[in-house]
C-alpha cells in the first residue's frame, strides 16, 4: 500500500464535524405519493416519540437482521476506520458503530431490561424529538449503505440494515429527504429517476441510433416498448442523457449478437431508490419491472451499469415479487458471456489511448457477487488495465461518497469528504501507472466521481465499461464504412493538396501545396504542421 493511502487512516477525531451536513426535507407533493405511509410534514414534537417508537418496535420484530445487530455489537471498533465518511470527516458519529449507537441507545432505553434499569450506564438514552431531528435525520443520511463495515465486523453487522431501519422510523414521523422522495415520485410518474417523459425517452433513443449510424455506418436499433421481446433491458436513465456512450455500447452488443431486446417506458429505470427509503417503495418500484417483463414475455431481464439496481435485483426482487417467470442478469455478465462465446469482434488496440482502473461499485462487489466479470470485460476490450491497491477493491471497495441517496447538492461538502478514500487510491495508480480512465459501471459513480476527481485535482476521465466495449467492438459492415470514410477523407485531402499554391511570405508560386510547404520549411523555418499558416491555394 502506498504512503498516501496509509496516511488516510490517521484521522483526527472531530466530534460534531458532521452536524452541518443536512439534507433538505421532503415536500408534501412528494411525500403523499410514496407507497409507504408518511406524514406530509414532520409531526409535532409531542407525537414524534410515540410514533417513532412504535415503528421501531415493529421493524425489530419484522427483521432478524435489525434485532440482532441492535443486540450483539461489542463496540470493538473494528469498523471505525473502514467508513469513508469517518475517514473524510473525523466525526465519531460517522463511524459505523457510532452511527448505529444513535439507534441502539434508544432501543436499549425503551426495549431492554438492562437499559430500563441502568440507563446511561449501559449506554441507554430515551428518545426525544431532538434525537430524531438532530442526530438521526443528520447521521442516517450520512451513510451510503455501502456495507463496507460489514466486511470487517467480526459478526458481520451490516450498518445498511441499521440505516435503512433508522430511515424508516424517520419516515414514520415525516422526516424524509426531498432528493429521495422526489426521485421516487418521478419513477411513479414517468417510470424513471430522472423523470424523462415517454416522448423524450423515445426521441433520445432515436438520437443515439443516429449517432451510431454516423460513426459506424451500421443501423443499430434501440427498441422501446416492443410488444414482445426475449430480453427486457433496464438502463439507468442517466445513460440516455449524460452517459450516452454506455447506452451506445450496450445497444451495439445487443446488435452484434442479434438479440431480440427492448426497453420499456413504464419501467425505464434500473435503479431503485426504494432501497434508500422503505421496503414498500422498494417493492413497488421493482414490481414495475416484474410486471413489464411478464407482459412482454421476456425470458431474460438485464440490468444496466448501475450498482443499486443490481442489489435491488439480486437480493430483493425474487424475495419481494417472486416467483419470477424469467431469469435475470447484469449487462456485464451478459457481455462477458458473449465475449467468452466469441460472439463479439473486438479490437483492443482501439482503446490503446487509455490506461484503465476499475472502481468496483459497492453493490456489485458486496451485494451482487460481481467482481470478476467486470474485470474480464475490461481486459477483453483494452490492453492497459491496472487494479488499485488490494485494500480498496472488490469486497473492500470504497464508496464513491454519493451512494445511498446522498447524491444531492446541499451536502456536496460531505460528498467530497466521503470521496476522499477513493480519490486517494485513484491518485496512487494515476501517479504510479499513468492511469487516465476510471471505469465506474454505476450511474451514481458516473455523477459523483468526476466531481470528486476534479475536487482533488486528479486527471482521469470517468466512464462506464460499455463505453470501452463500444470503442473496441467492431460491428458487421463497420470496417467497410470506416475504410470508405477514410478513403474519402484522403481523396479530399489529396484533391486539396493538388491545387497550385502560393507562399504568403514571399509570394513564390508552386505547383502543389506540398512543394510550398517544403519551401516554407527551408526558407522561412516554418514546420510542416504549421504550413497552412503561410501557404494558401492560389486564387
Amino acid at each position: 500500500m502506498g504512503e498516501q493511502l496509509e496516511k488516510l487512516y490517521d484521522v483526527e477525531l472531530k466530534p460534531g464535524a458532521g452536524e452541518n451536513y443536512v439534507c433538505n426535507l421532503t415536500k408534501p407533493e412528494f411525500a403523499e405519493v410514496m407507497k409507504t405511509n408518511i406524514p406530509k410534514e414532520p409531526l409535532p414534537d409531542e407525537q414524534m416519540v410515540e410514533v417513532a417508537l412504535k415503528r421501531l418496535d415493529q421493524l425489530r420484530k419484522e427483521r432478524k437482521s435489525l434485532q440482532l445487530y441492535l443486540d450483539i455489537c461489542v463496540r470493538c471498533g473494528a469498523c471505525v476506520k473502514q467508513c469513508h465518511y469517518f475517514l473524510g470527516t473525523g466525526d465519531p458519529k460517522n463511524t459505523p458503530v457510532g452511527r448505529a449507537e444513535l439507534l441502539r441507545k434508544v432501543y436499549r432505553a425503551h426495549f431492554t431490561i438492562s437499559g430500563k434499569l441502568f440507563g446511561p450506564l449501559v449506554g441507554a438514552q430515551k428518545l426525544t424529538p431532538e434525537i430524531l431531528k438532530n442526530e438521526w435525520y443528520k447521521y442516517f443520511y450520512q451513510c451510503s449503505e455501502c456495507r463496507r463495515c460489514s466486511v470487517f465486523c467480526p459478526y458481520g453487522i451490516d450498518q445498511a440494515e441499521i440505516t435503512m431501519a433508522g430511515r424508516e422510523v424517520l419516515n414514520s414521523v415525516g422526516l424524509a429527504t426531498k432528493y429521495i422522495t422526489q426521485v421516487i415520485s418521478q419513477v411513479y410518474k414517468h417510470g424513471n429517476n430522472l423523470g424523462i417523459p415517454e416522448p423524450a425517452f423515445k426521441y433520445n433513443c432515436q438520437f443515439l441510433e443516429e449517432e451510431i449510424k454516423e460513426t459506424t455506418g451500421v443501423d443499430v436499433k434501440i427498441p422501446v416498448d416492443k410488444e414482445k421481446a426475449e430480453i427486457l433491458y433496464l438502463p439507468p436513465s442517466a445513460d440516455l442523457f449524460t452517459n450516452t456512450d454506455t447506452m451506445i455500447g450496450v445497444a451495439k452488443v445487443f446488435h452484434a449478437v442479434g438479440a431480440d431486446w427492448t426497453m420499456s417506458t413504464y419501467a425505464s429505470e434500473a435503479a431503485n431508490f426504494g432501497l434508500f427509503f422503505s421496503y414498500d417503495d422498494l417493492k413497488a418500484i421493482n414490481l414495475r419491472v416484474v410486471e413489464t417483463a411478464k407482459k412482454i414475455g421476456a425470458k431474460l431481464v438485464i440490468f444496466g451499469e448501475c450498482g443499486h439496481a443490481w442489489r435491488a435485483a439480486r437480493q430483493f426482487m425474487e424475495a419481494m415479487n417472486g416467483p419470477l417467470p424469467f431469469k435475470f442478469m447484469n449487462i456485464l455478465e451478459y457481455t462477458a458471456e458473449q465475449i467468452r462465446k466469441g460472439k463479439l469482434k473486438l479490437d483492443k488496440s482501439r482503446n490503446d489511448d487509455v490506461v484503465v482502473t476499475l472502481h468496483d461499485p459497492c453493490n456489485y462487489a458486496r451485494a451482487g457477487d460481481l467482481v470478476e466479470e467486470t474485470r474480464f470485460v475490461i481486459k477483453s476490450v483494452c490492453n492497459n488495465f491496472v487494479d488499485m491497491d488490494e485494500s480498496v477493491i472488490k469486497e473492500k471497495t470504497f464508496c464513491c461518497g454519493g451512494g445511498g441517496g446522498l447524491l444531492t447538492e446541499e451536502i456536496m461538502e460531505l460528498r467530497m469528504k466521503g470521496g476522499l478514500p477513493r480519490a486517494t487510491a485513484v491518485k496512487e495508480v494515476v501517479e504510479a501507472h499513468g492511469v487516465n480512465y476510471l471505469a465506474a459501471p454505476c450511474a451514481i459513480d458516473k455523477a459523483q466521481l468526476p466531481l470528486v476527481m476534479q475536487h482533488y485535482e486528479i486527471p482521469v476521465q470517468v466512464g462506464g465499461i460499455h463505453d470501452l466495449v463500444s470503442k473496441a467492438l467492431i460491428l458487421e459492415g463497420q470496417e467497410e464504412f470506416e475504410a470508405k470514410k477514410k478513403a474519402e477523407e484522403e481523396a479530399a485531402k489529396a484533391a486539396a493538396a493538388a491545387v497550385p499554391a502560393v507562399c504568403g511570405l514571399c509570394d513564390a508560386e508552386f505547383a502543389t501545396m506540398d512543394e510550398c510547404c517544403e519551401h516554407a520549411e527551408k526558407e522561412h523555418k516554418i514546420s510542416k504542421e504549421q504550413c497552412d499558416m503561410v501557404c494558401e491555394p492560389k486564387k
Binding site: K64, I72, G77, A78, S114, F152, C153, A319, R366, E395
Partner: protein, 245 residues
C-alpha cells in the same frame, strides 16, 4: 461470614443457574423467531449452504473478519488470545464438576495449558481495556458497560489466581460444593473449610454468569444468526450463464 458464605454457596448458585439458562434461551429464541425473508449476504464467500457454514465457523473460530488484509490484526491478536484463553480456563474447570474418583485423561491433559491460559489472559484483557482509554475514537464509542465487563472478567481472573497460588482452598471441598449443587443437595458448611479467596472467586463468577444474558457478551450466540454471514446466494433466478438457444 457464615451468612454470606451460605448465600454464595447455597442460594445464589440456583438463582444464577436459572437467570443464565432462561436468559440465554430467551435471547436466542428471540433471534431465532425473527423473520428474515430478504437474503442479504455480503459477498464474496457464500454461494452454498456449505460455504456459509464455513464462513460462520471461520469467523467463530479464527475471527477471520479481523484477521483479513487491512482488518485489525492487533485487535485480532488481543481478542483471539483472550477468547481462546477463556475457553481453555473453562475446560480446565471441568475437573471440579467431576467426582472425586478418576478425572478423564483429556481433562487432566488440559490442566497445564488451562493454568497457562489463566496466567496469560490478563495481558489481552489489559490490552482490551487500555485501547478503550488510549485511542480517542475507541474511547468515544465505549460505554460504561464496556469497561464494566472487562473489569468484571479481570476480577474473576485475579481472584482465581489468588485462590490458586496464594490462598488455596482444599480441592476436595471445592469438588464437594460443586457436586452437591449439581445434585441439588445443600452444602453443609460445617464440614468443609472454604476460604474467602474461593468464596470471592465463586461469587464473581456467578455475577458474570448472570450478567451475560443482559449484555453484549451474548455476541457469542448471536454470531450464528448474522444474516450477512449465514445467508447464502439469494436471487435464485439470477444466472451468470445464458441458456443455449
Amino acid at each position: 461470614m457464615g451468612v454470606m458464605a451460605n448465600f454464595v454457596v447455597n442460594v445464589l448458585p440456583y438463582i444464577t443457574f436459572i437467570v443464565f439458562v432462561v436468559g440465554v434461551i430467551y435471547r436466542i429464541a428471540v433471534w431465532w423467531s425473527r423473520p428474515s425473508p430478504i437474503p442479504i449476504p455480503v459477498f464474496p464467500g457464500q454461494r452454498t449452504v456449505g460455504s456459509a457454514i464455513v464462513r460462520v465457523l471461520s469467523d467463530v473460530i479464527f475471527f477471520r473478519s479481523l484477521l483479513q488484509f487491512r482488518g485489525n490484526r492487533i485487535l485480532w491478536l488481543g481478542a483471539w488470545v483472550f477468547h481462546i484463553s477463556f475457553g481453555l480456563i473453562l475446560l480446565r474447570h471441568l475437573r471440579y464438576f467431576l467426582g472425586a474418583e478418576a478425572v478423564p485423561g483429556w481433562v487432566a491433559a488440559v490442566q497445564g495449558i488451562g493454568i497457562a491460559a489463566a496466567l496469560v489472559i490478563s495481558i489481552p484483557l489489559l490490552y482490551l481495556l487500555l485501547r478503550r482509554i488510549v485511542h480517542a475514537d475507541i474511547k468515544w464509542i465505549s460505554t460504561p458497560a464496556d469497561y464494566f465487563v472487562l473489569l468484571l472478567i479481570l476480577s474473576v481472573v485475579l481472584s482465581g489466581l489468588y485462590a490458586k497460588y496464594v490462598a488455596r482452598p482444599f480441592v476436595v471441598d471445592v469438588k464437594y460444593v460443586i457436586r452437591s449443587l449439581m445434585a441439588l443437595k445443600p452444602v453443609d458448611l460445617s464440614t468443609v473449610t472454604l476460604n474467602t479467596a474461593f468464596l470471592v472467586h465463586f461469587f464473581l463468577v456467578q455475577v458474570l454468569a448472570m450478567y451475560i444474558p443482559f449484555s453484549k457478551v451474548m455476541h457469542l450466540g448471536g454470531i450464528f444468526f448474522s444474516p450477512t454471514r449465514t445467508h447464502h446466494f439469494g436471487g435464485e433466478a439470477h444466472t451468470k450463464q445464458l441458456e443455449e438457444a
